[in-house]
Structure formats: structure tokens, C-alpha cells
Amino acid sequence: MADAGDSRHTPLYDQHLRAGAKMVDFAGWVMPVRYGSEIEEHHAVRRAAGLFDVSHMGEVRVRGDGALEFLQSLTPNDVTKLRPGRAHYSGLLTEQGTYVDDLLVYMLAENDYLVVVNAANVEVDYGWMVSRRNSSCRIDDHSDKYALLALQGPKAPEILSRLTDVDLATIKYYRFIDGAEIAGMRCLLSRTGYTGELGFELYLPPEDAPSMWQALLEAGADDGLVPCGLSARDTLRLEAGMALYGHEIDRETTPYEAGLGWVVKLASGDFVGRDALVRQRDEGVGRKLVGFEMLGKGIARQSYEVLHDGEAVGTVCSGTWSPTFDKALGTAYVPPTLAEVGTEIEIQIRKRTVAAKVVDLPFYRRS
């Protein structure tokens, strides 16, 4: 039943099954949702380290003359600020300034970029980019050329240092080394992640993934490193206030509404969606993303209604039990007048109306 239909397997599928993972269908892939206790996996990442298989993510290579201009015209962050070995968070936007996807842009070399996108959107993003190509650059879907492992948690540098000569302290946040040697294998080693913890992501050839997975788990076994599934990945990213496509951001929401205005560099020249964002900056947003915690019993889930004084005022984007805080947390869009921290709201949890209050995002900050 885990292997429904024609869903794809990552190169680590057999490792997951052997480890007793519960597998689920996610964005066309059969992925591990948890190996044992998702709460223990979550705690492992906050306190020691966790290893994630996120090979379902997509990679699109954009290179050749005009690659810089092309990405600059298509994404809201300022690509001219990147240097080889640096990456940044950005997006693909519609003419309305809403999200087609969020993504990372890695600058490999001059006019050579790797764009990392969500698994569910690879085909849409690739098509979006190809149909808007305005220069002689090449655009290739290289998703099949990469497996992606994420080693996340305070012990990540120590664990990784046992397998490499690379001075990890020199890799600042959102920087990377292309061709780093880890456990005798070459990878693109990036100090990025989706958990709110210190950590690294390793892009490597699929055929090396099982050996790398094994090497990392063995190197970290004494430090409490455990494999982690999508469930822990989601609770970790939500605590860290990181957006997930299809929840906090989608084709209805803009970076300004989502609290991601820092990604938008209006001075970087024209890009798809810029005019709409300029208007929204001038006129103000009609709704804002907020974090909330439940005061009464129950867990908010995506698409539940948000109420204020009994009136529907918004919708829940994500909601979960938070293992770190031992309470139910969520994100929602509400009118700006209700976005202030401390505002009392209610969440319609099926037949019950349950009290909640607006709190600061992110819920969790690494100390």
C-alpha cells in the first residue's frame, strides 16, 4: 500500500524500508514519513542531529550566456548579488506577484546556476522557465542527476567533520562548496536547511546516495543521529516559521502577505510580478500571515476557519502539534488589523470553536 500507483522511488528507498520507515505518497514520490517516533525524530534534530532524504526536490540548471539576466528577470531576489559558492532564497512569481513556487538559487559559476524547487512543482517550474526564456541560456531539468540529503542539528558539523577535510566553519549560512569530498564521495555541500537548526545539505549523484547515507548514519550514531521522515521535517520547519508551498504560499499569496518581503528587491530591475508588488507595497496588503498558538484543546489543520468575535476572518495554512513547545501551533492569514501579537482569535475545529492567540513568528529560534 505504500507503493501506490506509479510513484517514484528515491535512491534510498531500500534503506528506508530496511529501517522500518512508514512510507507515504508525497508529490509523486514514495517517501518516509517516519521511521519510529516522529516526536523523537523532531527532538533529535533540535538536540543532536537528524538525517533526511529529500531527493524528491527538483534541480533545474540554468547556464550559458544570459543566464544571469534571465534569472534576474524571473525571480524577485537580486541575482547580481550572488557569487560562485553562494545561494539565496527566492521564488517564481506570477504577473500578480503570487507564488508559482519558492526556490533556492545556487551560483555555481559565472552564468551557471542551479535552481532548487519543490518536488510537486518541478514540471510547472521547468515549463514556466522555458516558456519565458529571453536569452540564449540553456535550461535543463537535472532533477534525476541529484540525490539530496539533509544533515540537520547542533551536532551536524561535528558528525560531518569526521568524514571530510573541509573546514566546515568556513561555510557560512547560505554558502556552499561544489565538489566537497565527504566519505570519499564528491558532493555539493551547502549550509542550508529547512529545520531552523544548524545543518548542511548534500547534493550528490544518486548512485552515491546509499553509501553516503550509511556513512553519515555511522559517523553520527554515537551522537544520537537518527534518520528522520517528512513528518518531523514538517513540524521542524513550521516551528522555525519557514513557508511550505501549498500551505503558507501559493498562487493566491504574495511575498508581502507571507512575511517574505525581504526576498523582494524592487531595485534589482524588472522581474515577473514586480508591477503588482509595487502596487501592493504602496497600497498595503489586505491580509497577513501570522503565527498562533491554541489556548484551548485541539489542533488546527490546514483550511480550518479563523474567527474573531464569532466572525470568519481567515484561514489556517498549517497547524500541528509542536514537540518543542508541547502545544498546538499554526499559521493563518488574517486581516492586518488582527495580525498584532496577542490578538485573541478562535479556530473552528470541526464542531468546536477553540480559543487561540496570535504569537510571534518564528515560533522557534536557534539559541
Binding site: 512508514k22 513528518s231 500541528t320
Partner: protein, 125 residues
């Protein structure tokens, strides 16, 4: 794993019948599907339900699942220990993780429930 003297529903509840009363819980298969249970919402003693009605819900980290009662009944007692220790549903789903004790008001629907062998075939299919 699945007690022989329990009856099982397609919605993955079990029922241990004792005369005109019964204990209800969710099966080991159901708790595995749900993941770690963090909150159980249950009915009050005295509430009455028809066969197939929703009586509450179980929240896990990642999902919410409704609890259905497979026979017409009156709630005698909800498992109060789950308020503080909802994880008992994961740890001992067929025992200490029971959800409610009921008085069966119309046993007709009992015949539609599966025995352990039939239930195991059901979840294997």
C-alpha cells in the same frame, strides 16, 4: 496481535463485548497509520449514538481521525487517563489505550463486525 475475542470494524475500531456493555478502542493498524497520538476528543458519559455515528476524534502530530461507534449505544465512561497520556493509544491500543466503555442499546449491528482473522485480511488487502 489482534485479540480473538474482539470484534473489528472497517473503520479500524475494536469492540470487546461483555453482555450488553462493551469497550471500544482503535486497532494497532489504526494507531500505526495515525502516528503519535497527542490529543483525544471524546464524548461524555450519558451521550447516546446510533450505529456508525462519530463519537469523537483522535489527533496525531500529522493527522486527525474521527472515531465511529459501530453499534447503537450510550456512553458509560470515557478513558480519562488519555487526557494526560494520549500516547497510551499508541503504546497499548488493544488494552490500556481503550477509548470508551458503552452500553449497547441495539445489538443488531454487531453481526456486521469482523472477527480477528477477517480484520487481518481486511487490512492486508
Amino acid at each position: 496481535m489482534y485479540p480473538e475475542d474482539y470484534r473489528y470494524s472497517e473503520e479500524h475500531e475494536w469492540l470487546k463485548v461483555d453482555g450488553d456493555t462493551a469497550t471500544l478502542g482503535i486497532t494497532d493498524f489504526a494507531q500505526q497509520e495515525l502516528g503519535e497520538v497527542v490529543f483525544v476528543e471524546m464524548p461524555e458519559a450519558g451521550e447516546t449514538f446510533d450505529a456508525g455515528e462519530e463519537i469523537g476524534s483522535i489527533e496525531s502530530v500529522k493527522a486527525v481521525s474521527d472515531i465511529y461507534v459501530p453499534v447503537a449505544c450510550e456512553i458509560v465512561e470515557a478513558n480519562a487517563s488519555l487526557d494526560d497520556s494520549p500516547e497510551t493509544v499508541n503504546e497499548d491500543p488493544h488494552g490500556k489505550g481503550w477509548l470508551v466503555k458503552i452500553r449497547i442499546t441495539d445489538p443488531a449491528a454487531l453481526d456486521e463486525l469482523m472477527d480477528a482473522a477477517a480484520y487481518q485480511a481486511h487490512i492486508a488487502s
